[in-house]
Symmetry: D2
Subunit: 349 residues, 4 copies
């Protein structure tokens, strides 16, 4: 992976390569047959060869993370900017990138919530780029592939929203479960909490420790509700409760819902069929009938596994994915594949 | 810990010392000021020095696990039998032990469900000791201490039932949450699955893998419902969903309930007060206001931590304990302390 | 990855797909641009769809593991057989495969030790295929690439021998360390111990437990000595001591050697240069000067990282690799690349 | 554990309760029959209830960590100060504590190296309390029990030195291995690296990562050499190489030595007998003949397990202990037991 122009490949730049999502993006782009990574950019305090941040990348990536500058980025002739920076920073960069003509896939939360007031409420910051916000497409390929193909700006979904929405959308869309009173009990591996060291995730504190957090106030809750509402065309109300699990990566949602009148009495097999129909053409959603989802079965892949069961009058859905891949960078590449006309699975197996 | 008679100490025998609960019982009995362990007994294929099963016990326990025989057990003059054997086997042993006059604390499920038909339904086996079943006391000290003190036979609660019931009973008893439609989303460390090797818990399979199991059919579900119904005097209906978490030990329940009319509008602080009142005299339940429960905070202790929150119109309770201690052997010793007039915390700090 | 013939691709069969090395081979072959996997074969008790053994493979591999039969294997027109079966079984299969004209890459130990008597001594079994043994090439690409290119039968090296030999060969070849009295202190992740459940690797026993094993009698010790002797043309004597480390994968060797007269006084920098020269053309050996090797830096890659230091008159070399990749299946594919004229790194980034 | 005076108990203060060693000291003191913890003191930025630092301690310890002040400490009438603070700070506190008449057990390195010049060389700081340094006793109970009993100031040994010295001293003292050219390959759980968060020990970085560190310059190397030299009365030269292992706690040394003429030809059984004789009266050293040492067998105990083997003309010793207990706080309490005439094992089973 070098700076030379490869015939027939699109050119991508990565902005924010030193976090876990950036790292994962690099690893997958290395294998992508149609993309050349031509630049990596970051903040002043995080510059230098990528192997400095990730010794694993030594010998694979010769690019250094350089200071971000929109003009410089434009000068390398990139077709797409992969933007792996924190929220607020993202909306500071997007306008310039868009003006330079780059299509942008943004990992941050800045363009996910459609309503600037909602954004302000949950992120405690005024939205300063409502123009692009209005044009952003939510990058959940299983539901918005058509819009994604032509999008200029993708809001790449959060890990929890992807994992939750893929487990709920088919049943909600089919009118088989109530769109209110849903509980999403979610767990994530620790890489989901980012790369900045803190006591709670210091190895001797986190190892052998499972715990809930963000009760009633996790920012992914409104994103999940908004996504599902967009899919079914009516409001969805749910309680989202995340937990931190002592493992590197992986995410699993255990979702509890009540059947509607139409859904009452449906067997697990019938509900499974609903999922199979919904995801018949989705290459990265596997509706499991052989096993229940487990994080090990999706780790280091772009798959989201789903299974549905019925017990005590309730519908229970389990979904699992790798929080850094289908929950972040793999999904971004899946979006990129759609945007640039590659096979949806290109570089993702 | 030897065979010699210690003045003023009660004499205990352990039946089934080679499983994790037996191991944990031994470790805590070593520190108990009022108990002498005078014999360990097991099945024909699991005999020999305890250090053979647990090299950690070398130099601490000189007793060997000998072949179980009720006459032999009686001959050592034991006051109490701690019965750590699987269900069905337990009810084969209890009648003889009781006839010999020993008080029995049984870790198995054989005397937990009050109704022999329920037992048969969930354990697929006829109950063959309904006489003792009728006299058994459910050993949850926070709610049944009076009965425990005089009991001849204790059904030591399951780990999940302890963790679930302690989180629900105060709110149900106060009429603040609906006794139906409750969801208990539980996770357990792998030691809860026992010591017998199998592929699912082979280290390279289980490490980094979190997964649900027992959907709608876990045997602890009816035990939780029965326990709560006994406490509040009316039926309780809940959905219990367990998961396996890649860690040695620890259990955490995330419990979702709907407030009753009386509970609606109560703040987390008000509900916390209900817990504080309920457990004011319970030495091993800690109602947390400083942190949310986490398995690390209770690991290797007999504490159960509880916290309550309110979000989106629902009541959420988190409880955590060490599945082998408050969820098994520590609780058994707590019961023994009550039965023999020791301080409830003797040997358990 | 299907059964249809792809133009320009070689055709490979995998024999023994249900172990960890087989699994890893499949994952990498899925990404290989020049190879089509056309059949998977195994023993009678391990047949069926690959996703049955590895739910992760669902949706990626449609092949089932079928009963091994040399005629059947020959009928699919394979160019190469990847043989991931235990020792002794391997040498039962190889003669038939070779007769059918397939080139064979054997993961087992059956063709590693050159001397049939040594084999019998260490593996407690008569060697029954000494004819092919004489023709087998030891598949360490960094040292035997020329022989590998034309080999009909490759003895794919053990994980520990790869990790040890790559750390010692350059210094021995340069005459800078004594070829006797070397200590190789090695650690491996638990996947190296295979997929069969046993108490020692049951999660609650292995988690948080680090321990030595195989003192003075590990079968990789003579393989390491033989390999190094073959490289430098004189006997090498070393003590190899393996340990099991509570992690999935990864291997790290800490190697202690005494400098020769020629090596005495050489600095770490000078010795590093020796490694850099030795591996200048080896795409999968990274001589680290920035960090010491760590298993995380090579996990899920085909790299072997090496660093050398001098302290208290001794030379210390650290090497790290992923035991299932550079220590097994990645190396096999690297060998296959050489054998079939692919770029050495094809499918391995 | 309260402030009231308990008849017949000695009074202890803990200085530095917020680090892992302080935490572990508190947990064990809670169980000690002869000691009352009457105060906990720390630096200005680490004050408050102990449960703030360790939620696990809630309900067990009512003491708060108060600002350290020698007068205040003296005023509580303590018999002994347990000093769990970093080096340099320790030697700032010791003179005042000693002047107030307290006996001191110091966990830091400040009084371990006998020679102030050596101290300066390894710790890059002038020794400012050479008076007390001259009187300090090295607290390795297995070898210096007599001096410990009457000591006013104990230098509590480092974890690695304890683990290394207990494995080497008997063979060196018996003249069976050469006192030079020894290699100690050691691994430690991550709690040994302290409680301050840093990237290297951030959970997603450390999990699944095993790595060497401190090549040739770890400060425990001279401490090990000094200790062994003091025991055998002649210089000892060894190479100590530590590694970090992805687990909470536990330490294991794999020690490689050459037999002397007297040791040549000795069997593992004969060498085992040497250890058994050496540790016949040491309650916390277990010479294993049944299993090789493993960290799980000593975790959460004050035991050090030892086993010896002979292979390829070399003597190999394995030792294991819990780095926070026998490697730190358990050993300190063992020293305290000797100093105050308690049974050596009091409070430590």
């Amino acid at each position: 992976m070098s700076n030379r122009k490869s015939a027939g490949k699109i050119r991508a730049v990565l902005i924010g390569g030193s976090g876990y999502a950036g790292f994962e993006a690099i690893r997958w782009l290395l294998r992508h047959p149609g993309v050349e990574l031509v630049g990596i950019y970051g903040p002043p305090n995080e510059l230098g060869p990528m192997e400095k941040f990730y010794p694993l990348l030594s010998g694979q990536v010769t690019l250094s993370q350089e200071l971000f500058d929109a003009d410089k980025v434009a000068a390398v002739g990139a077709d797409v900017a992969l933007l792996c920076v924190p929220h607020v920073i993202a909306m500071n960069y997007v306008p310039a990138l868009r003006k330079k003509g780059l299509r942008v896939i943004d990992w941050s939360a800045d363009y996910r919530l459609r309503d600037a007031d909602e954004y302000k409420k949950w992120y405690a910051h005024e939205h300063t780029d409502t123009g692009n916000l209005a044009e952003a497409v939510y990058g959940l390929p299983e539901y918005f592939a058509d819009e994604i193909r032509t999008a200029k700006l993708i809001a790449n979904p959060g890990c929890y929203p992807t994992c939750s929405a893929l487990g709920l959308a088919p049943l909600l869309a089919a009118g088989l479960i109530e769109p209110a009173g849903i509980v999403v009990n979610a767990i994530s591996g620790v890489s989901g909490a980012g790369r900045t060291p803190k006591l709670a995730n210091h190895y001797p504190e986190r190892n052998e420790s499972f715990e809930p957090y963000g009760v009633g106030n996790h920012r992914h809750m409104p994103e999940i509700e908004q996504t599902l509402a967009a899919i079914i065309g009516q409001p969805v109300e749910l309680l989202f409760q995340p937990h931190l699990c002592p493992m590197d990566r992986g995410m699993l949602c255990s979702i509890y819902a009540r059947p509607t009148a139409a859904g009452a009495g449906k067997s697990a097999e019938e509900l499974t069929q609903v999922f199979q129909d919904a995801y018949a053409k989705a290459p990265f959603v596997r509706v499991r009938t052989d096993v229940l989802p487990a994080t090990k079965y999706v780790a280091y892949t772009n798959f989201c596994d789903v299974a549905v069961r019925v017990a005590k009058g309730r519908v229970i859905v389990f979904t699992a994915l790798d929080n850094l891949i289908k929950g972040a960078s793999g999904q971004a590449i899946q979006n990129m594949n759609l945007m640039f006309g590659f096979d949806e699975t290109a570089g993702l197996i």
